[in-house]
Subunit: 366 residues, 2 copies
């Protein structure tokens, strides 16, 4: 379990952690330091790159960063090419000779919508390649290493591996299983309830938490809700307009036990300007819903629903992660956030973070 | 909200907080520093001193601590007398001339089971008295200040007031209302349930949390449970033997809606070696239960019960504090920790602490 405080300064693990041995420690961990910068680059793409993964790269020579880049969108240049282009904006092509490139994911070695990055690296004259995670497709994993080494480059694999794998967890899951990464989001009171007694404000969580939900939506390719929530709350499930300048409205999917025509046709999801981004899964078929979303390029989806659909997803073992906002009260309201759940669900890697007056739990399931 | 990490080092607020201005800051806050030491002394008595409050004292001269002491048990010397005696163990009586005494609570000025501490302070030749909290009995508040000042001593009141008030919150509540401080303790899953599905282990929380429950029991003068828990779980509600070398077994009170003779007579609370420390409150009368305990000298009681009694205490506005242990799982078990609660209960001063794999919430109610 990890507990974070709000606004906790991000620690520079290399230079702050152990100040007496600063110099030696920094030299030992130069690869990790540069990879952390590449990870920071990659993070800029989270939520934007599907069906591609978020990837970041930095190019370094003699302890100096020459350039950096991240993959901004499917069809646009990969992070390696962005970083190479960034170097060339400020330096001559010669500067790149014998440089090292740090990239969060194994460079692609096949022609896709863009030419293979391994070729770009070779063309640039880079002499060392460090990457954090192997390609999750077993047919591609390690191909870049063999190819680059055969051309005389030094290749190091697995630096900051865990963080680099986290960046591509949705992409990996689709590769592996044909299903997207599924996060359940709930907001409950400290006694587990999703509602407050009649007559009280129906807001549970603070503005800061609602802001964070916007961020989670931004990082998702689709938002799933249930037929009951659709009928009763008539939710919009939209991103705010600022976010929509960077990203298409995520898919909105209603999973109903009945048929589409039984849902109220006048509700927002069917009538607002993003109505073409609304999907319906009939017969409560969770697996079909997720497959349908994966086929549309979704690698990361969020479920925002009531206790019954939440429980169904958990019991079907289709959930990878939970994000539960706890509001600082015991509500005594009539409905529980995980009503209907009748199985033990273990959580791993729990992280608690203070968000305004609320507490956010993020944990992996199973 | 405050979030604590497990094993977080206790910060020395004076010397660590603001290192650039260390010297100046330390001088400004010498009173706070010494009072913090007095508070540390007082803490040793928490759970042991009822019906008296926990009090600590240190005696200081020329920036050096000459002695310290805490009130160990009703009928034993007060903290001030313990500190004076401690000085005399290592120094001559002359050393105390013109010393300062820091004491967490206003010294008593009346003859009780022990002679008044104000007289002891005068006899010792102490010239300055600093105390953190006034006597919560309005008839006594400020009397020590006036008396000591009339004898030419310098008196400072209110240093580390909040922490000093916290030390005596049970004592104050009894003085003010005739009722003890009431803490509800619960252990629930992250979906708010108190049980796991049939067939799973019925332990929710980790050994570290169960250890912490022992500590909470140690700090309590009585443990309250409900008739249902008594019948179904047959709990012992005992302190471990190590703790019992320092403290009498807290009172154990069963609140039943029916009559005592309807409870199973063979259950532990009625038959174990502490059976004389078991009380029963009939007719589910919560107020009578608390009054009965206050009359027996209890200033701090803990409720360890099921959802119905928990809810009854909360709805009757008889709860001062909650301590809720969250186990890191969604259980889907049949019973909720706060079942029966049908009112919004706000929490203040929430503090979350990691305890093993669990999360402990402590918060004030209302």
């Amino acid at each position: 379990m990890v507990i974070h405080r709000e606004n906790e300064p991000i620690k520079n693990l290399v230079f702050d952690a152990d100040s007496h041995h600063g110099v030696e420690f920094a030299r030992m961990n130069a690869d990790e330091t540069w990879m952390q910068l590449a990870i920071e680059e990659a993070k800029k793409g989270i939520g934007l790159t599907s069906p591609n993964p978020a990837v970041g790269a930095v190019i370094v020579k003699n302890g100096q960063m020459l350039g950096k880049g991240w993959h901004t969108r499917a069809g646009m240049p990969h992070a390696e090419r962005e970083a190479i282009a960034n170097v060339l904006e400020n330096h001559s092509a010669k500067a790149m000779m014998d440089a090292t490139i740090y990239v969060t994911l194994e460079p692609c070695s096949t022609q896709g919508r863009t030419p293979p990055c391994t070729q770009g690296i070779l063309d640039a004259g880079i002499s060392r390649v460090v990457y954090g995670a192997e390609d999750p497709n077993p047919a591609h994993a390690g191909v870049a290493k063999r190819l680059l080494e055969s051309q005389g480059l030094e290749v190091t694999v697995g630096v900051e591996n865990e963080a680099c794998l986290k960046l591509i967890r949705g992409f990996s899951k689709v590769q592996r299983s044909g299903l997207p990464w599924v996060m359940l989001k709930s907001a409950i009171s400290l006694d587990g309830r999703i509602t407050r007694p009649p007559g009280e404000s129906q807001w549970l969580t603070s503005p800061a938490s609602r802001e964070m939900v916007q961020r989670l939506r931004f990082e998702s390719d689709a938002i799933i809700t249930g037929g009951n929530t659709f009928r009763i709350d008539n939710p919009a499930l939209t991103l705010r307009s600022e976010a929509l300048s960077a990203k298409t409205q995520p898919w909105r999917m209603v999973i109903t036990r009945g048929k589409r025509e039984e849902l109220p046709p006048e509700h927002q999801l069917f009538t607002d300007v993003y109505a073409d981004r609304t999907l319906v899964q009939e017969s409560g078929d969770l697996l079909a819903a997720l497959k349908q979303l994966a086929e549309r390029g979704c690698q990361s989806v969020m479920v925002e629903a009531g206790g019954t659909l939440m429980a169904a997803f958990l019991e079907a073992k289709l959930v990878d992660e939970v994000a539960i906002f706890y509001a600082p009260l015991l509500t005594g309201g009539p409905d529980y956030g995980f009503a209907g759940l009748a199985e033990d669900i273990s959580l791993r890697n729990s992280e608690f973070t203070q968000i305004g007056d609320d507490l956010l739990l993020r944990a992996l399931v199973g």
